[in-house]
Symmetry: C2
Subunit: 609 residues, 2 copies
């Protein structure tokens, strides 16, 4: 107990030291959770191999309230893994200790800083431990009370309960003060506890600055048989320093040198050499799953198969080939065809219900512990999780996103269900790959590529049945393209993908009847682009016409124009520019002028120039 | 009572008629809520002027479960406002009756179809009625149980309770069956009720097919003094037809002709001529608020003012000039400076806490009832609400979004807080306007433009202080630009915006010392672009160099390249391409090669070509 109190004091010192030196940061948000985390780390609860952050038996700790990074770093300093000198580099360019935890710091389980995402990440890790690896590792997630206004937290609460994740322990640091104002719940611990309990969690309330109460809480949490556990702790922002404790207007502010000195005086005698021990994890082996070899789905040329259906077929293949593949869906699995994987690997399918934000967060968590998540919903609904997708790029997320029901060509359901901005969205993350297969064979090949590729991959699938174009032996490298029609007499190049590639082929047939030959390129890889092929085609023909079932902004047309800028290649773009509506798929493609009729019209118009 | 039963039967007929004719749609999801909505509409609870959907005294009805559109249309048909003939046009191209309700249908309060957003929209309308217009109009929101997995619903529950919206009544149609699977809660009405009650709502549980219970529930709901009310109804999907009732695998499926005949047989004798009456709303005048004239903020040239701070100043002006302006923020108002409006119009500021999805939904709701919402948070965090933003384009949303802390130049907080994809995101909605002012004067002018412009507007603001560039008399039309440096000897054009415009000016000064003259354009309007000026500059100089504190994809560079494609204008782009980190703003701008150093380097490199 004395040791824990002394460690808490040391940690408070580290928090104030680093932030004062940085001249910025969130000391008061860090101070409120000191006792909570000190007990977790140094009282034999948390099990972690400091020498080996990648040890899969490690317990997991996620600072969902990422702005409390000074506390996060201070804990590892108190464990002897970070020097006091390094603490003074907080927030400096080149330091491992960034403003919010990133992967630069080896002990960061998953980067945070966009509130409300950590619990979802934790679910991914807990699902992995309980159901996939079957290891006793626990996942702890520290959240703030202001943070739990985020709906994603309540999505996570539902899912964690549904999956009986008793190896997931959340801690809410209820310090009542947000950034600009008091939270909606203030210090009403009872209301917060009741809400969490109503979602099926075991809830333990504590005085967040009472070490004995916190010890008791973690001991009780250990015993949960089938419920996730939430410790709801009443705390004070800035606790430990009288002029900070529970004071407004201190969020995100560092102390100046004088205030720092005053704070140190209040802390009293600090044992700067004191370090705490963290218990080692139990060494538990997991059964290595063996990959199986599988046959590809035997599609026949011209057979009509929707690429969304081909995704389902492909999943059955890669699930066998890659034991690390895990499949998630947001209650659309009979539409996205992700449900097909349940035929071969039901233990690796996890229904995520209508909660896309949580689904993406869970996938990122699974990715952080070595799984390869393939996650699906309608393309339009991935927009619900753009912030989680955005954070994925900072988490080195090896997550594959499959968005079905792309474009106006979904038909009668209408605009709300149409993905028309998904390519733009998924093009933005650093290093993301964006693929848009036009037939079943290429879909299967690209899904296999996605499984082998490390990084975030988005695959866009089509609702309608479309003819198989390719033979089983064709390769589809990421960054490649397919030139389906080509001759020395091509007057223009038409670049399509997905449904519009088929419209381009229809246009080819019609134009050929009038002796007009066009080059047709299947741009299945939208990021990275096959720039060489595009430039070549642009120079060998009069111009490139891009056609996409997607808005203009950020889509295929803009990507191609950017890629061939300065190459003296002309590019014209057909895209969705009018308010979409319900209707038959072909009616809508015609209406939006992205069908074969529109392509033919554009070709003829350009030939007159 | 008999009348209500007969109307319910008629409505069931209308649902089956329209969807069978369409060959698609969601009849079973519609059938489960028939009694609930029949009582609401025709038992004197709902007050609505059918001749005048824009009557601001109307009660509001939102079908958050938008796929139950056949029920929505059937209700208005039963009220005599839609013919049986028109019902048969459901989902047809050109019909007002789209797959999910759109504004094509005059009685649609707000379009829906992306689940979990309607309650937020309803909050906007309820806030308007209770606090702004001070009228007794009520807002009713119908939700599904599968839908309430969406976190946005729980954000809304918190906020509605916080604002004591007793004029907001939610109805959850708990029919236990989702799209592909049973919901997590099945028919556990008690758990759902407890959860909602724990969020501070008054909860009434009912048998959703018992007209007397429903009548009692609505009567009780009327009496709520300060709590929003939720009716949690146990229902059966497909109720009213035995082979549909509570049956799996019927989601989103229409009956065929034979099944339709069988269903009609079960319904028995239908009075096809029966119509129900809806009560008229009470006519309550609201006090017309008078606009006030205000003076613009007296900025001095070269005075250092962050554009985010200028936003706060501008808000105080437009709040006075436009009584319909309402201000929302997601617990960042001291950072975005939206808090400043509380100095002049505190009654029009509503804190939305850390729940961006709900904030955007509330804004769309406010917009639908004639308000002009100005809503703010960090640019990065608007990505949390991309699905709501996406739906805004279908709702004719007159919402102005202000995203602060744009780019890597925010500095030490690091990547999670940096808006690097917000321009790409906000460029995608049809007809959106995207503005990025570089100084305080243009910020104020553009905020005023935004207030006058009808439609979605995004304004990107900068964290750092930057010098005032413009005088008070300058105009900043949407779609315009400012050429700050220009001569007949300009070798290259540098296009910047926000922080990079200032980097471009620094580069100008340095290059001029070496007798290299560049044109400098402030591209404050990113959508629509000032294409004429860009082409002119591109032709009069060697090339355009765009510089942005934003990712490449979907950003300024791509927008400009798309705009000048085929004009023989060369465009080179500097943007954020490397993993961002904590650091000083200037360090990060240099590291990402978007600073004056990088611009100078690019200029010199291009001059060698």
């Amino acid at each position: 107990m004395k040791n824990l109190q002394d460690l808490a004091k040391l940690i408070r010192y580290f928090i104030l030291l680093s932030t004062t030196q940085a001249g910025s940061g969130h000391p008061t948000s860090s101070l409120s959770a000191v006792e909570l985390m000190t007990v977790l780390f140094f009282d034999g609860i948390f099990r972690y191999d400091l020498e080996n952050p990648a040890n899969f038996n490690n317990d997991r700790l996620i600072f969902s309230k990422g702005h409390a990074s000074p506390l996060f770093y201070a804990l590892f300093a108190a464990a002897g893994a970070v020097s006091e000198e390094e603490l003074k580099t907080l927030r400096k360019f080149g330091s491992r200790l960034e403003g919010h935890p990133t992967l630069e710091f080896p002990f960061t389980q998953v980067p945070s800083g966009s509130l409300g995402q950590g619990l979802s990440n934790g679910i991914g890790m807990a699902i992995n431990a309980k159901y996939l690896e079957k290891i006793p590792a626990k996942t702890y997630v520290l959240m703030g009370d202001s943070e739990i206004a985020e709906g994603s937290v309540w999505e996570a609460l539902q899912i964690a309960h549904h999956y009986k994740l008793n190896n997931l322990i959340g801690i809410i640091d209820v310090n009542r003060l947000g950034q600009s104002t008091e939270t909606m719940t203030s210090h009403d611990i009872k209301t917060i506890a009741n809400r969490v309990a109503s979602f099926g969690w075991e809830v333990i309330t504590v005085d967040g600055h009472s070490i004995p109460q916190i010890q008791k809480a973690f001991a009780q949490a250990e015993k949960s048989k089938d419920k996730p556990v939430m410790i709801v702790a009443k705390t004070f922002k800035g606790h430990g320093v009288s002029f900070l404790n529970d004071k407004e207007n201190w969020h995100g502010k560092a102390l100046n040198q004088e205030q720092f000195k005053d704070a140190l005086k209040e802390l009293g005698k600090i044992d700067y050499k004191l370090r705490g021990k963290i218990l080692m994890p139990k060494a538990v082996k997991t059964a290595l799953k063996k990959p199986k070899t599988v046959k590809m789905t035997p599609y026949e040329k011209d057979q009509k198969v929707a690429t969304r259906k081909a995704y389902g077929d492909a999943l059955t293949c890669i699930a066998a080939m890659h034991p690390e593949v895990v499949v998630l869906d947001a209650e659309t699995s009979n539409s996205t065809f992700s449900a097909k994987v349940k035929e071969v690997a039901p233990e690796r399918y996890f229904e995520m219900y209508i909660a896309e934000q949580n689904m993406v967060g869970v996938a990122i968590g699974l990715s952080r512990v070595g799984k390869i998540p393939f996650i699906s919903t309608f393309a339009a609904f991935f927009s619900r999780a753009f912030d989680q997708i955005r954070m994925g790029q900072y988490a080195d997320a090896n997550v594959k996103f499959i968005g079905s029901h792309a474009g106006v060509s979904i038909g009668e359901d209408g605009a709300s269900q149409m993905g028309l901005e998904d390519l733009a969205m998924f093009r933005t993350p650093l290093g993301s790959v964006v693929l848009y297969p036009s037939d079943a064979v290429s879909t299967e090949m690209l899904v296999m590529q996605a499984a082998k590729h490390h990084g975030m991959v988005y695959i866009r699938t089509t609702r309608a049945d479309t003819p198989v174009l390719y033979s089983k032996n064709e390769m589809f490298p990421i960054g490649g393209s397919k030139t389906l029609k080509s001759s020395k007499a091509d007057v223009l190049t038409v670049v399509g993908a997905g449904i519009t590639l088929h419209e381009a082929l229809k246009a080819y047939v019609e134009l050929k009847k009038e002796n007009i030959l066009i080059r047709v390129i299947d741009l299945y890889s939208i990021k990275p682009l096959d720039v060489k092929t595009l430039i070549k085609a642009g120079k060998e023909t009069k111009a490139i016409i891009t056609v996409e079932d997607h808005f203009e902004e950020g889509g295929i047309g803009e990507a191609v124009k950017a890629a061939v800028a300065n190459e003296s290649v002309n590019v014209y773009s057909l895209a969705v520019t009018k308010m979409p509506h319900s209707g038959k798929p072909q009616e809508l493609l015609d209406y939006e002028e992205i069908s074969s009729i529109a392509i033919i019209k554009k070709v003829k118009q350009l030939l007159k120039k």
